[in-house]
Point group: D2
Chain length 335, copies 4
């Protein structure tokens, strides 16, 4: 059986997901496209999905009989509305981050999904499907005992001019937020942000690097460097310290060479190649679950908590204070 998917938003990520569904995934195909710029949808149709129908609105795509499930890849401010629409239509929906641009918007989705009574929403936190992170999580469970600390960093070679200080949280650190919650099966109770000396390679409007300190409800302490103009590459590091031992996120596989008095291996420079296989796996998982009517992976609740947590981090950026993070009760659907 082949799952029929509709893709809303045919920009970079929508295009990439369509290619992925058509060429990499098994048991799924793209049958419907929508973009607010119809020519973009037509271009994607021509390139990767000649059999897909182009709809005039996202709502029409959601409503279409032949669409079993929906991918929301449009601009962030439209996510909430499309996701709510899919829930209302009773169709599984995969939503790229952010789930909504505000915590309140995310809460409306949680409420709607709770009312619907089943998991229809999967949020695009692809790291939960990354092989290295899954190896790390398995090692935590088998070898480390109770986790006590995480030391992490998120480094990009460079960011464009429009990237400003709060984006270090909303666009970059939000992946770490979800990853830490998933690794630890825990929630945050406070956040603090520290600003080291600024690199000369950063633009005026971004404080870079930053260090975010998080505390969880079980007392685990996390320090995570965010350094988005580190120059040398795209580098994600994560060390978990437990009562019985320490484990590191593996480096991506690479060839070690001996040349010109250096023993070296390449570091990736592009985030897409770093998590390529994780993107494949998260969508395959979504597609595989569509027939059951219940999706898995990161939930609307995870998206909501990520929104609350990242809002607290932005407040911590602005105030320099240790900011409390309080979560509402978790609806039974997400237990």
């Amino acid at each position: 059986m082949t799952v029929k998917l509709g893709v809303i938003g045919t920009g970079m990520i929508g295009t990439d997901h369509t290619r992925r569904i058509q060429e990499v995934l098994t048991g799924a195909e793209v049958v419907a496209l929508y973009d607010y710029l119809p020519e973009n949808a037509a271009k994607l149709q021509a390139a990767h999905a000649p059999g897909a129908k182009i709809h005039e609105t996202g709502e029409a795509l959601i409503a279409a009989d032949e669409v079993d499930a929906v991918l929301v890849c449009s601009t962030g401010s439209t996510h909430e509305s499309y996701v709510l629409g899919a829930i209302e239509a009773g169709k599984p929906v995969f939503c790229e981050k952010p789930l909504a641009t505000t915590a309140e918007g995310a809460k409306r989705i949680v409420d709607a999904e709770s009312a619907a009574g089943r998991r229809l929403v999967q949020v695009g936190f692809m790291r939960r499907f990354d092989q290295g992170y899954n190896m790390l999580k398995a090692t935590m469970e088998s070898d480390l005992g109770t986790p006590l600390m995480i030391h992490a960093c998120h480094r990009n070679a460079a960011v464009p001019e429009h990237y400003v200080t709060p984006m270090a949280i909303h666009d970059t650190f939000i992946h770490e937020i979800d990853t830490f919650r998933w690794l630890l099966d825990d929630d945050f109770v406070s956040a603090q942000v520290i600003f080291p000396r600024k690199t000369r390679h950063a633009h005026d409007k971004v404080a870079d690097p930053q260090i975010v300190l998080l505390e969880t409800s079980k007392g685990v302490r996390i320090d995570c460097e965010i350094f988005v103009n580190c120059r040398y590459g795209y580098d994600i590091q994560c060390q978990v310290v437990g009562e019985e031992g320490v484990a590191d996120l593996p480096e991506p596989m690479a060839v070690a060479t001996r040349r010109e008095a250096r023993l070296s291996q390449p570091i990736l420079t592009d985030w897409k190649s770093r998590f390529m296989a994780a993107f494949d796996a998260e969508l395959q998982d979504f597609a595989d679950r569509v027939p059951s009517g219940h999706v898995g992976g990161p939930s609307a609740w995870d998206g909501y908590v990520a929104a609350i947590s990242s809002d607290a981090c932005v407040t911590a950026q602005e105030t320099g204070a240790i900011v409390d993070i309080a979560l509402p009760d978790r609806p039974a659907l997400y237990d």
Copy 2:
């Protein structure tokens, strides 16, 4: 468009490939099965391919209209006949190693395919599709200059009682033979086998470890340890030494831990997990090319040369001598 595949032989590898086609690959499905034990075929049908038809003979499967292409996964002695049948039927055929049990048999396939005038046969040397080996090959091309030597080893934790000395060549080293040819784009001119002190963990009928020395037509020298009762794991190493530098095959990705006074990472113990993704990729590549009528990957010629080369290695085992390897002219189809 979905490619329709028939699988001959539903033992371990035929079962695994069927699962792979049904659950992992995109654009392909298994529509036909045959095994000389019909109950085996039925079991596989029930588990992974409920829509597949079970045929009474391999020949009937090859002839079936709905079969676009064939996988030969039966016992080695039957490969030649099925592959020749598929060539005659003009259908692409993926053949697990060995292509044939004798060099003469492989030559008959080469001749038949040459007469057919197009590449219909892909041999199951999956390492050519392994990510690590492809990284190594790319590094050779970009960074090492002219290759001069390869130091390699192939280690298994243990082998069963029936594994005897020549199987170290025919079953184990044959993968290295194809890999070295592919990495170097070169052929062998001589082989020598050295027997180190035997491990106490080897059975009576297998000399273990062994070291195979190969010389290529361009003068590259290869030493490859084969150690099939090394105890500690399944470990494939390959170091290429070039005029400008040296490169190593990457270790599989693994989590490094610090525990009990050791900094360590796991070594795989199962060859299937080592090359899992390569098996997926080789079959995806095969399926993707079926519609064109021309397959890629390791060819019948590669299978034939591997047979000639491994025969020379067995002679080298038996005689202790440096054995010349002479190849016939390469048919134009394989240029």
Copy 3:
């Protein structure tokens, strides 16, 4: 020319330094010993320094004509007095940490040395002589550009019952304090201490682990984990993040083995073996400079600043606050 040294305090470290001088160093010998337990001094004399005279007081040892320079290895509360005595006698003095038990005491030494007008005091911060740290410092200078952050950790396998929370600063972190100042050529302006979830392996009176956050006058931010019951070994890690790149303190040299499905190398469990060669080098450096009348290495000023900085860290432990660190003006002697 052989430098003649007197050792005050013949406990563990005094004994080890005496052995070192007699058996490892070149150009130095121990000619005088003192311990408040004369039988201890006699035991050391018999074991390693048969030609040394045992003095009745530390003051007498300092005053003895044949003593060119003094090592203070006695209990911490006596350091200040002996160091002041050596300064007064115009003799170079190597003082184990702490220079004094209070910042005021350290200041008295700084003042006395400044008045004497030459560097007579070397403090036993041996890491400045460690090969790995020196490699890291050289790499910082050649490759990293302006330093922005340091991520570090100090882990011990276990600590004894008497080790309480402030000792994590005064006994353990004080080495990191000096090391960071030396690596960065910078001073601290604030300290904060965070307490993660406590390991079940820690005794009642020690909060373990801890994370110390430091800010320097140039804005460099340091986070350093102190985990003294980490179970797995003695492990010192230090990563420096600069504008142009990142560098890690090397792991101690170790043999990698492949056994029992693990690729692993040993982690040291004893701090003495970790810094053995650094202890040798710091004392050799001291002895080599005695004839000139001017010592090098960590100065009384460094000891004083370490005392002020560690006092601030203890206040940060006690209050949970971000504690300012203000230093007096640096006397010209230490420019």
Copy 4:
């Protein structure tokens, strides 16, 4: 007590050893120098040993009352005569490799020392004192079980014009010969040399690289690459494969950096820095044993066996054949 040493030959290595004795070692000093160019001896005297007497002949130096032991650092053809002289004088003698320029010459030394009835001769195979090799040997004993194979390589960045093919054995591989014997506590029974494709970076008169294959009396098989124009650095690798596991010689300690899309660490380019500490340790060991009248470390027998073994390797170079290596009985002195 200070051991008084005389140094014969004040070229590069004699100068370096004199500096080492005067500045690094403990308990030893250079009291006598001789060089066939008196101005060289005078230069060394001025630089590092102002108290040393310059003798008119090596024989006079050996005979001098104040000389407790002798270092032979002169040109290779003079070694035999000076070593025999020292034996006759009953003085311990440290002889740089080669012990003699012929196996017969080495045998005369062995005979003389055997007649003298005590170990007076230490040969300068410094690797036995290298920390990494000692770690490897300890790991072999604790973790690997019976050794079966060694895979090794010896790479130099480049060699000068006068370096010709047999020097790859006599000057380079001879260190490996002694190291393998010491690691394995075993002797060689055959040698074979293979010549891979030649690097374009080698001069006309040197076949480079080469691979030497050795077999020991216990059946251990060794393959060792010698590549003296590898371009990238000075690199010594050694992997021991045993019945229970595999171990690698550690890489020299180095700082890993992340810069310019590479995770890398430096490779040494100078052999002197690679074995600096081993040179220190071998001479300290020699000096420490002089008072006892019995030296340790690599013996005259080891030097003799190295000569026989390397002669066989040169024959193997010349003939392409597998050359038998037969040793005379080992005199009781060396049991």
